[in-house]
Each structure stands twice: as C-alpha cells, then as structure tokens.
Symmetry: C2
Subunit: 501 residues, 2 copies
C-alpha cells in the first residue's frame, strides 16, 4: 500500500515556483464553479502518520483556495452531546453542504485505527467497521459527494527526522508532543493497522490516495493537482448521476402479501380500551424513567396511509411521557439547508441523546414510499435507499437506540369513510385536500411500495410492526404495547426471557 | 404580584367539559393558521413553583393542539458544548422558527432565580441580568415573536398539599423528589426572588401571566384561553409591525468624520512588511496556543468597502492559525432556516467554543450597512439593531469571547483602480459584477452608515478598528497587530499594563 510513497519524491524550488501560480488560478476557478453551479459537496479526508504534513497541507489548501468556502473539522475528544449519540453523528453534522468543500482533519477512520493499535478492537470487529464505512462512503458518493481520501505516509526514518526538524523550529515545535514520539514507537503497529484499513476501504467510489510526506513541495503540489483534477472532472461530468443499478423488485404472483394478510376487523371494545390504554401508558411512563434508560434512546417511526390515525396514536404515546423528554419530528418537505445534504441528514440532525425520545411523524421511509411512487427520485436512488436505511438503523441500534417502526394500515372503505367524515368537521387541519384524493388513486402503487419496504427493512434490531388500524382503539393499544415490549426487551432482558419460557 | 393567584380559583367538571371542545377546536384552527400563514414564532415560557402544574400544563397543550408543530425544550444541566459558549447560546439554538410554537420548560429566568435563592447573585447583578433579559425579549418581539410568559403560583400550604397528592399517586410519585421538598423549605426565598424578577421583567412587550396552580381545570382552561386569545389577536393584526420608533441620526455639519479623518496614505515598505508580518503572525500563533486561551474564544469581524482587501487580510491571519482551530464564516444571503429566525440567529449558530476562533467575512453589521442602505429592512429595524448588536457583543464579551472588529477603508480612487485591475485578471472569483459598480454609486450612503455604525457600536469591550487599507501591506500588519494586542490584553493583563507604564 505504501511502496510508492517511500521512493524519496522531491520537487525543486524552481519547478514549484513555476507550477504553483497556474495551479492556484485553476483551483480558484474550479472552486468558483463548484460554488456557483456545483450541485455537490466535496469531502476531503486528511490522514496519515504524524509529521507527514497533515496540517501543512490543510494550510496550503487554505492559501491556494478561497477559504470562505472551505471548512475544516477536527475530531478530537467527542463532546458529551456527541458521546450520547451514535458514533457517526458527529461526522454527519460536519458534512459540507453542496457547493462547499469540507476538510476532515481526522475522520471516521481515526477511532477504529487508534483502537486497533491499542488492541481494543479485534480484527473481526475492525473489518465490520470498515464494511460500515464503505457503505457510508458509497452513500455519500451516490448522493453526489466527491470524496477524496488522502493518506500521508513517511518511512520510520523520515518520521524521526521530520519530528526532529519540527522540534527545532520554534514556530512548529509546539506541534511535536510527547504523543508524537510515543507514536513513533508504535510505527510498526500503525503501518500494519493502517495498511489493512486502507486496503479494506480502497473502493472504486472512494479510493485512497497515498502521498509521500517527506518533501513539502512534492506533497503540496501532489495534493493540489489531485484536488484540481478531481474537481474539474466532476464539474465536467454532465451525465445524469442517477442510473438504475439495482435488481428489479420481485413480481407479485398472488394477492397474498404482508398487508392483505392483516386482519383489519380486529377491534377493542371501548371499556377494554380504557383499561388497556391506562395500563400500557402507565407501563411506558415507568419504563422511560428507569435509570437503565439513560444509556438508551427511543426512536419511534410512524408511517401509514392517509387518515390511518398516526396523529392520534402519537398523542396516546406522548400522554405517557414527560414533554421535556421527547420531541415530535413532523416530516414535511425538506428545507433548503436539508436539500443541500444527503437525504438522511435531516433525520440524523434529530437523533435524540441518550435518555430521550424522538417520535417521527413520517420518516426516512419517505424515500421508498412517496418519493418512489411519485417519482420524486430516480429508481436507482430509492433502490439503494433500502440498504442505506438498514445501515442507518443498524448504527442507531449499535449505539443503544431502540428503534420501533409502525405501519398503520386501514382498509380502502374505512379510509373513504374517514375522508368523508373529515370533510364535514370544522378543524381546519383536518381538511381534506385534492392531494389526499389523488393519493387514494395511487393506492396500488403505495401498496406495493409498503410491501417491499417491510420485506427489505424489517430487521431483528428494528422490525416493522404492522398495525391493523381500522379500529382506532385496537391500533393505539397495539402500538403502546409494542413500544413497551421493545423497551422491556432491552431494559429488562431477564424478565422478558422468563416470560417467554 | 401573586395576590390574584391565591384566591382559590376552581372550575367544576361540568363547566370544564362544556368549555374544552370549542376551545380545542379554536386552538387547532389558530395553530393551523399560524403554521400556514403565520410569519411569526410563538415562545411560551412555563415557569413557577414546583407542583403548580408546569408539566401538566405542557401535556394539556400537547393534547389540545397539534403536537407536530410544538416543541418543548427543557434546560437542565448545560452540556459541555453549551457551557463553553455564552449563557444565551442554548436558548438561541432552541428558538422555534416562524410558524411554530416553542415551549420552554425552564428558561433564561431559571438560572438567575436559582442563583439568587442560593445567594450566589447579588441584587445588583440580578437586576443587570433582568435588564439584559428585557432587552433580549424586546428583540424577540421586535423580530415578530409572540412571547407568552406563564408563572404558576401556589401558596405555601397548597404546595405542600400538591406534593403530597402527587406522591400518593403511583403515576406521578416519581415527579416528587427530595429537591421538591427541599424547595418547599425555601418557599419564602423563592417568592421573594421570583416576585422581584417578575416585577422587573413585567414589560409591556412580554408581560408575565401569573396563574393559580391549585386547580387543574382552572389552570388548564386559563392557559388555553390565554394562548388562544394571544394567537388570534396576533394573527388578526395586519398592521405593519415595522414602524419607525427611534430618534433620527444626527446631521453632518462639516466633512470631518471617523472615515475622512483616516490617513489613507499610510504605507509599509515591502521589506518592513515581511519582517512585521512574520513577527505578528508568530506572536498570534503563540498567543492562541496559550493554555489561558482555552477559557476564551476569538471572534474576528471583518467589514469594509468592496475590494478593500478583506479576503487577503483574513488569509494573513489564518496563516498563523491551525486550520483545526478556526472557522471562516462567509456571510451571504440568509438561508430559509435562517430567515425563519431573528436576524442575529445565524450569527449565534457560528459562535465558537472556548479555545477556538471564528472569522466572520462580513458580519451582523450587514443590518446597519447593506440592509439600511439598500432598504432591505425598515428604518425601525436597523435603528434598533445598534442596541441589539451591542447587547449581543456584550454577551459574547461577558462569556470571555474576545471580539475584534475591523472596518477596512479604501479611497474612491484606489477602489476604482482595483476594480479595473480585477476586470483584467483571470480568476473568476474576482470578476467584477454589475452590483459592485452599483454599490460604488451608493458610496455616500455607505459612508454615512459606516460612521453611524462606528459611533454607535464601538464599545470598550468590542471597539472598532478602522484600517487604512489603500496600502495592503499596511492594512494587513495593522490587523494582525491589533488582534495580537487585544489577545494580550486579555491573556497577559499584567504584561500589557507594565508596557503601558
């Protein structure tokens, strides 16, 4: 992996002076185009061994480009807001929007590599992390991002010399710390771990660029040219980035599917309803106050046909919670800042801290429901979304989030009845719009989309609960009970196990 | 303050049942209007003594209104990201956007009241805090917000009874903690501190609404009706909210002002420039690495005429910094999410943590410069902005931020020369636009605006530095030197004092 970066590359002063001005001009031009017309963000990862010129390179990029549209994010110790959320949250919130360049000094690779060197991460776990990272980067690229991953390399001897010369110069001496020298001792371990990581994540969509770090001029010129080249190519690429890539969804042979299999006649009598409601609300309010819950968060995802009763169900859940503990996130059209980011970004920004609850009224599944049916995104986009969503939920789960997903299903007849009823009542917010009627006509397309969604994204850690919602009482109690049971499984594993016996 | 809230208000079940349905319907309608057409946010503060029904009231609001457009923010222990920024930062980031209702469970009042009760805050300091809060709320209201401040009151005896009955019910017992009982003991102190705070902040633009908390039905109905009434009135108020309120700016009698007084012929020879630049850059890079700087942050604000050299100056500053330590914030047109907030919000969101540097390329002064000159906001708005900006910077200063503000001034002749030069060169980003030429024609208006700005916002804690910028070398060194000196004043107060002796 590092062979070409130990050859002793050097650029003399004269060549450097001749090459830099046209390069800077071209970089500024390309950056200007990116800012004015570029419908994509640029993510630059700066990593490598200490002393190989990571911060020098960032400074060069700032000098050569327009610093107003660059941002640099350093990731040292996570803040408590970051620690209480999934590992990737801090990176998501640092992603540059379209038209801008984000430089990551340290990245999602830093912790796994450091943990591996310290021996805190097994080879198997490391590989799993790298697999997740590959999928994350694929998502970024599919969402339009240009991802450039630089690794600055030094041989052990060059590193020793670099550190010495940095230490000599009073202007740079501060950058050489005890840790720098300590890391020289673990040089071999770093090379081994990094080599493995780089090989595992050297994907066609986000390949590593290994640069020899010994000579400042060589390194700066190399990085500058690579950034320019990548920018220019991407700006000139007018192809539609969205082309169908995924296998077709299976055809239906009979009328039996996860939705038609539901028994929509299920009912709960008023009297039973009130008892059950009180019981499960009481249980829920007790569960979220458990000390163990402080190490978890609860994420409720509500999807369902129009008028299926999402709002009413959500209110029955929140009645059991302290308003200071939860947020309801109504999902409507994305804002301008959200549109400038990968589609999952606007959900990441609402991921709750530990000990808290987030309730999504419509969710990230919009991608494979409304966007698929209405053609708001390309086929390739919603097809890849299933995997991306699974990855997203997996990450939430790994961090201790309890993800509970509901699809509220009502019959065509019941929906019609509710629409008509709504037309009569006065609450403005219940007014039926043209769109609601139009959506009804598309119900076969939605039906197929829901079935695919359930098949492809119901996982052990984040299963779908399909809710028979023709009877509101039945639906509400089923939802509350499901939330409680999922919470108990996590907070009270022994009790749950015993109960099953 | 609390007399009317100790009268034993009660609402019987029958009245309550009759009144709630039409109230809910009207609330939902008003909330729908707010969401669809309301160009303002609603800020509801829920405060008062323990057991007086704060969280019950929030739950009632959630039950009666559409919870998707409500958000509740609780403010307990600040996170480290919050602790390392000014006190008000956590409230700014929680402000609801236009069209939404934000419920604050705890607010900017909580800490001052608690500190006063504990004896950590003198009466004088408390009054100063209340004055700041009044100005903050005035700003919110001037920016269009509807601010409703509720205080739930209980007599000492009622509080004891409420706590007892909460404790008896297993569903609410968890809410009564040791602290609740401890607070009963400090009841008198709370009444005294709160009474004083409420009187001081009972402003015409954001008056307190004191509600007796003993009877649930009375309390719920009162709050519901007040919220409805306030919403309806504000929605029906079609008057232009922006009317001129401030005194006129003084007329100029002669041609002498802070700008014409500048000696734009000041120069620095190339050779001196390089020595000086290296000297101050070295000093700056040393200063921001001082351990003492970790308790401060550095905020650089750059304003100046077009082509005055802001970009070049910023690059000379950043060359002395580690890219991981600073962010450049280029200020262009606000985004959709920013437009839905008070105009200072988009600057608050970029306020750096301690130990970090934020460089604003154009700033919050846009309000009193371009927005004033181009008529983008009403006269009343930019007139009140001077005070609001002073308050903003005062708050930054109080938290330890070092605010350094530069106005770069160039002569008309030099600007023309630079424009023509730019027209010749190839860098796209330096292309002169129609707008640049148009701005030149407005230069007298800008001139007046700059003079007013300096007069009204140059304070001891955040003075303006006017930079003679016809000579770029002179300007850059003056800027770097000023930044260093301001840093030294704070980080090295003794040394600075000695030097002056």
């Amino acid at each position: 992996m590092f062979e070409s970066a130990e050859l002793g590359h050097r650029i003399d002063k004269k060549t450097f002076r001749a090459e830099v001005p046209p390069l800077r001009e071209a970089l500024l031009d390309a950056q200007f185009d990116l800012h004015e017309n570029g419908q994509f963000p640029v993510v630059i990862l700066i990593s490598g061994v200490d002393g190989a010129g990571k911060s020098e390179t960032i400074n060069v990029l700032y000098e050569w480009m327009d610093p107003r549209f660059l941002s640099t994010l350093a990731f040292s110790t996570p803040t408590d807001e970051e620690r209480e959320r999934p590992y990737m949250w801090r990176f998501w919130r640092a992603l540059p929007p379209k038209g801008r360049i984000g430089i990551f000094a340290g990245s999602w690779y830093s912790t796994p590599i450091a943990e591996r060197i310290r021996g805190d991460l097994s080879r198997g776990d490391l590989d799993q992390r790298m697999d997740q990272i590959n999928r994350f980067e694929a998502m970024l690229v599919n969402e339009g991002a240009l991802v450039l991953k630089f690794w600055f390399h030094l041989s052990r001897e060059s590193q020793r010399q670099r550190l010495k010369s940095l230490e000599k110069d009073p202007r740079t001496a501060w950058r050489v710390t005890k840790e720098s020298w300590a890391r020289l001792k673990t040089y071999g371990k770093l090379q081994e771990a990094a080599g493995h990581v780089l090989r595992m994540t050297n994907t066609p969509w986000a390949p590593w660029i290994v640069v020899e770090g010994t000579d400042d001029r060589y390194r700066s010129l190399t990085v500058g040219k690579i950034v320019l080249d990548a920018l220019q190519k991407r700006l000139a690429d007018t192809r539609d980035q969205n082309f169908p890539v995924a296998p077709p969804i299976a055809q239906k042979i009979d009328s039996l599917d996860v939705l038609t299999a539901l028994d929509l006649s299920l009912k709960l009598e008023k009297k039973d309803y009130e008892t059950q409601l009180a019981k499960w609300q009481g249980r829920l309010s007790e569960l979220v106050r458990r000390p163990e819950f402080r190490n978890h968060s609860l994420i409720l995802a509500f999807e369902g046909s129009d008028a299926a009763g999402k709002g009413g169900s959500i209110r029955r859940v929140t009645a059991a919670l302290d308003a200071r503990q939860y947020q309801i996130v109504p999902v409507a059209a994305p804002t301008e800042e959200e549109r400038a980011q990968p589609y999952l970004w606007r959900f990441w920004r609402h991921i709750p801290r530990n000990g808290r609850v987030a309730i999504f009224d419509r969710t990230w599944y919009g991608r494979v429901l409304v966007e698929r049916v209405e053609g708001f995104c390309a086929e390739a986009d919603w097809l890849r979304a299933y995997t991306e969503i699974n990855d997203f939920e997996h990450e939430l789960h790994e961090d201790g989030a309890i993800v509970v997903k509901f699809w509220l299903q009502i019959s065509d007849k019941e929906q019609l009845r509710r629409f008509k009823e709504r037309e009569k009542i006065a609450f403005k917010r219940f007014k039926i719009t043209e769109e609601d009627w139009r959506n009804r006509e598309k119900s076969p397309a939605y039906h197929a989309a829901v079935c695919d969604m359930v098949d492809r994204t119901s996982s052990g850690m984040a299963p779908w609960t399909l809710v028979e919602a023709d009877d509101k009482c039945y639906a509400r109690v089923k939802i509350l009970r499901t939330v409680c049971e999922r919470l108990e499984q996590v907070l009270d594993p022994d009790k749950t196990r015993n109960r099953k016996d």
